[in-house]
């Protein structure tokens, strides 16, 4: 059984939407509260590598994509979560399971204002320390 079939059967109820855009690109929408079981399941597969996460401000909420690469087949599996509460977007931190998420979570915290619950050190990574509070550069703003 290949990895995608395995994922589908194991997390049958938790997968909100499954989309295979190309043979090697898989996008899976999940509920933000399931990020820890999904993230740790994928990370603990020997062939899977955490590539990066990317956050985005969309109309429906703050969207986070976690990209995992299967280096044995070249498939990229992207977990997509949407945090609908734009005032206070919160999600569990993966940094205690995957060390490689430490920096990118800090970056998303400062650029998009996402709060990663359980992250041990959410200080600024790329913005200066005196950057104004509540001003998130990657949030979409109305042009004045």
């Amino acid at each position: 059984m290949n990895l995608i079939e395995e994922l589908k059967s194991k997390f049958d109820k938790e997968i909100l939407k499954f989309e295979q855009k190309k043979a090697k690109r898989v996008y899976i929408d999940i509920d933000p509260k399931n990020i820890i079981p999904f993230g740790s399941y994928l990370f603990n597969k020997p062939a899977l590598r955490f590539m990066i996460a990317s956050g985005m401000d969309t109309r429906s909420g703050i969207e986070i994509m976690y990209h995992f690469s299967d280096d044995s087949t070249g498939v990229i599996i992207t977990l997509r979560v949407i945090l609908t509460n734009k005032e206070k977007p919160e999600i569990d931190s993966l940094s205690n399971i995957i060390k490689g998420t430490n920096w990118i979570e800090r970056e998303m915290h400062e650029l998009l204002g996402i709060i990663f619950i359980g992250h041990k050190n959410l200080k600024h990574l790329i913005l200066p320390d005196d950057w104004p509070k509540d001003d998130y550069p990657l949030r979409q703003k109305e042009r004045k």
Binding site: R25, I52, M56, H67, K99
Partner: protein, 401 residues
């Protein structure tokens, strides 16, 4: 008496590609901790890209890095072509791979020179930079520039390589090959370099997994990952080559992987040139419109995998453009590799991640309690070079000269 000190390294130096700041906590000569800070030169390119067209964006991302200036455009065109479902002409595939591999050669030679300088082998530095010129001459001839070649374009490449140029590039590579043999001998067979680099800066395969490290760092720890093989693009699936791995997990392995990769790159370029002689066709499809959608593009840059994620609506610029450079994952491994070693080894360990770590003029050892300057960057280079000299005289009885 407590002898704990903090050594700040960075953040700026002209020889560094990316400014970064390491705060080494030392107890006497021994490194006991490291804080890493980045963001000193954050240019907001992801945000800037949202206001550029796809075509302008290529020039923008080309300027992210000066050393591997075609890596980011390479990954970006891969992402846009995935988004739009474009298949590029076969001839363009060979030109793209050729440019990508030439860049790997010059980047690895640049690193080798710097590593040699840190270890006190200034001859290695001078020679490797001398032979790097052969590659830069090729770039100047085919693109008009030594750096920032502007080769990539959505749907193909901006220039073709034809006629006399093909034979001339082959000649240049033939000239380079004996130099690579020489470097291999100089680094891989030298007992003093072995003593300085073997067992130093250990990063295990588990650390590679934990931190998501890529490129020569992963491959020197026995993790055979290479996007060119795992998810082939351009001409990498059409030519014959091998992934180079080593199992030493140390600085020696990282140097070895880079040197052996030079041979593979030359092999790829020669095959691309042979195909360019026989493959007809255009190198560009003249793409005008990009449909809405999303795509992920990857390229194996000299330092590891570059990832670009692009999402577009119906306009001709992206709504989100996420960029991840390999160093973003690799630099974080320094908190594993540098702790427990001597200050004189710290420099080469940090350099082995290939952020071309030469911010040494900025180094100063400061007494953390009374803020007194104890040592500066030149002292640190001197310390590293002295260690090599001492080892050399112990092994060969060569007096310092």
């Amino acid at each position: 008496m407590d002898k704990k000190c903090v050594i700040p390294i960075g953040p700026f130096h002209p020889l560094q590609e990316e400014p970064e700041f390491f705060r080494l906590h030392v107890d006497g000569e021994k490194v006991t901790g490291v804080d890493i800070e980045i963001g000193y030169n954050h240019r907001g390119i992801e945000k800037l890209s949202e206001s550029k067209t796809y075509d302008q964006g290529l020039f923008l991302v080309e300027r992210i890095c000066g050393i591997c200036s075609c890596s980011h455009p390479f990954a970006y065109v891969n992402a846009i072509e995935e988004l739009a479902g474009i298949e590029i002409p076969e001839r363009a595939r060979y030109v793209r791979s050729l440019v990508g591999e030439l860049e790997r050669i010059h980047s690895h030679l640049l690193w080798l020179g710097l590593a040699g300088h840190f270890l006190g082998y200034n001859t290695v530095w001078m020679w490797s930079w001398k032979y790097r010129e052969l590659v830069l001459d090729i770039f100047e001839k085919i693109s008009g520039n030594r750096q920032h070649y502007g080769a990539m374009k959505v749907g193909g490449t901006r220039f073709d390589i034809t006629g006399e140029d093909i034979g001339w590039i082959e000649k240049q590579l033939d000239e380079l090959l004996p130099a690579v043999d020489m470097f291999k001998g100089a680094v891989m067979d030298d007992p003093v370099i072995h003593a300085r680099t073997k067992g130093v800066g250990i990063i295990t395969a588990q650390d590679v997994k934990d931190y998501g490290a890529v490129g020569p760092i992963a491959r020197s720890s026995g993790v055979a990952i290479d996007v060119r093989k795992d998810d082939p693009y351009a001409a990498y699936g059409l030519v014959d080559w091998n992934i180079v791995t080593m199992n030493t997990c140390d600085v020696f392995g990282r140097a070895g992987v880079r040197i052996l990769e030079l041979y593979e790159s030359i092999k790829i370029i020669k095959q691309c040139l042979a195909h360019l002689k026989t493959t007809p066709g255009p190198v560009d499809l003249n793409i005008k419109d990009i449909p809405p959608g999303e795509g992920i593009g990857r390229h194996e840059a000299p330092r590891g995998e570059v990832v670009h994620y692009v999402r577009g609506d119906k306009t001709n610029s992206p709504t989100r453009h996420k960029i991840r450079a390999p160093s973003y994952m690799n630099i974080a491994t320094n908190e594993k590799s540098v702790i427990g070693y001597n200050v004189s080894d710290a420099l080469i360990i940090l350099a082995a991640a290939d952020p071309c770590y030469c911010c040494t003029e900025r180094i100063a050892v400061v007494d953390a309690f009374n803020r007194k300057m104890l040592m500066n960057g030149n002292d640190l280079i001197r310390k590293s070079q002295e260690k090599t000299k001492k080892l050399r005289s112990r092994k060969f009885g060569v007096s310092s000269s």
